[in-house]
Amino acid sequence: MDTISLLMQGFAVALSPESIMFAVTGAILGTLIGALPGLGPANGVAILIPLAFSLGLSPTSSLILLTSVYAGAMYGGRISSILLNIPGDEPAMMTCLDGYPMAVKGKAAEALAISAIASFIGSFIATIGLVILAPILAKFALKFGPSEYFALFALAFATLGGITGKNQFKTLMAAAIGLMIATVGIDISTGVQRYTFNTLELFEGVDFIIAIVGLFAISELLFFLERHAGDGLKQVAINKLKLSAQDIIKVLPASIRGALLGFVSGVLPGAGASLGSFISYTLEKRTSDKGEFGKGDPRGVAAPEAGNNGAASGALVPMLTLGVPGSGTTAVLLAMLISLNISPGPMLFQQNADLVWGVIAAMFVGNLVLLLLNIPMVGIFVKLLSIPPKYLMPIVTLIASVGIYSVSHSALDLYFMVGFGVAGYIFRKVDIPLVPIILGMLLGPEMEKSLRHALVLSDGDWTVLLNSGLSIGLWLVAILGLVLPILIGPIVRAKMAKSKHVGD
């Protein structure tokens, strides 16, 4: 088998001492970031990108580091869900439902251990799915011409709001803003200056790393300040771990089902990790015998955790094979690849086979590291939760600024970062989602290039955009992605809110 031998080569890359070091570092940092309430995986990866970049790490090392941070943050998110009843990010919400009640009942250690095992199963199965599905999809995507690519980008934006998205027009608006920022700079094909106002610094456009850190990290600081989450949070005490093989066997089916559902919703555009953990939880609740769901059933911890970790790995499939990320964090990872001069997409699997398979193999290694790390050492991560955010947030901000400064040693970048932070704060106040903005900045140049390419080939005939069954299909899915949330979004949201209330 071709795939197997490529994967074996990948393991040769992933098992080098250097790669293992990056995977372990990433896993630890990621878990720390995920465990802190308020800092999700997207923030974590955003803060670390400039660092990886200015350290001049090789593409493979940077990507291993950041995917481990991503996986680690997905693991870490469960810690604050279980101990504080505060989800680190949206996908971790469902884990609160049974995790926190378990902790209150004096079974915090069991809940943490079960969730770690379920996270491992979720990621592991989804990574296998990635190995099987990604090369197939990449081969399929080789058939894409410029008009198909243009339709694909449109689809990515249309489905970004997700099924649970609230106001589709705001997603559209955010995407337009991002794409507009991407047009700043010298037009590559004609050399015409666009929106540069003759400022030298703008000739090369606006650096998306600065935008990402500003929009995510700095605006988060401003929000934190406003909410005045000043003091340390009261957490549930941790008991001594008493977990029998039987307990693990009991949650195995739930974990495996959760992993598969999560993977599928990760791969599908627009579904994402939130829906992954939601579906896994509700399905488990429905299929299981009359359990104690909502009151601390271990299966209610295992299913959503496996689901959200499965979705996290699943989301890498469209990102790596098509260059179209399905979630905020994968968008940030894409930014990283682009800034390393690697264009994701079908060609990635041919031109950078070493990199892709090295990273995939590193995900297996990273998950194993995370499992080993999370069971015995969970106490260390828990300690971090007792550090009040009033000390932590300023330090995180400082680290983010240092990272930005180190990329080009220019204070101007820092001004831009603060500017994006303020803009991000205002956007969040009027409910404009940030991820489409980032995605617009990232995909803008490629999207415009494919549009112009397609139109030049057809001599300006716009019907070329619908020239094949494939592109028509993509447009149809895009329209569906835009319309569906308006129809069924309110229903899904109401259901999610209802199950959350039961947990309260």
Binding site: L172, Y195, H228, Y405, G421, K429, M447
Partner: protein, 146 residues
């Protein structure tokens, strides 16, 4: 109240018009006009932004509460302190600038002055050492350079 979306939509509409108009003013590239020039994509974007901002003004969502005026002043001060840090990092140097801004931020987030200063100094010195000596990324010394 549904004011936020109306105001924001209005601003975005102005942006859309200005952006689209600017696109029509691009110089004709060398070699004459093509069917798709540098202005095609921007004009499309300005139309999308225009439509969605009009929608936002016509059917605004419920407002998210803005912070009270005192908090807005507070946030402005914090933003200014970060800009001051950006300005100070080169002439004054990383360590003093970072120590000041971190102490200030901790204090504004509700920590006591002593603890804020300790956090500021310890974090700036350790990050400096980490970056300069372990990661070998030079940060400006500024005043401490002699």
């Amino acid at each position: 109240m549904r004011v936020n979306d109306r105001v924001f939509g209005m601003l975005m509409l102005i942006l859309a018009v200005a952006y689209g108009w600017q696109a029509t003013q691009f110089p004709v590239p060398f070699g004459g006009h093509e069917s798709v020039g540098p202005e095609t994509f921007p004009i499309m974007l300005s139309i999308i932004l225009g439509i969605s901002s009009i929608y936002m003004m016509v059917r605004p969502d419920e407002d998210e509460k803005w912070a009270p005026a005192a908090m807005l002043v507070e946030l402005t001060v914090v933003v200014l302190s970060m800009l001051a840090f950006a300005w100070a990092i080169e002439p004054i140097g990383f360590m003093p600038a970072a120590a000041l801004v971190v102490s200030f931020l901790c204090w504004r987030m509700g920590a006591s002055i002593t603890k804020s200063v300790i956090t500021g100094v310890v974090s700036s010195v350790s990050i400096f050492l980490l970056f300069n000596n372990v990661l070998e990324l030079a940060l400006p010394l500024g005043l401490l350079e002699f």
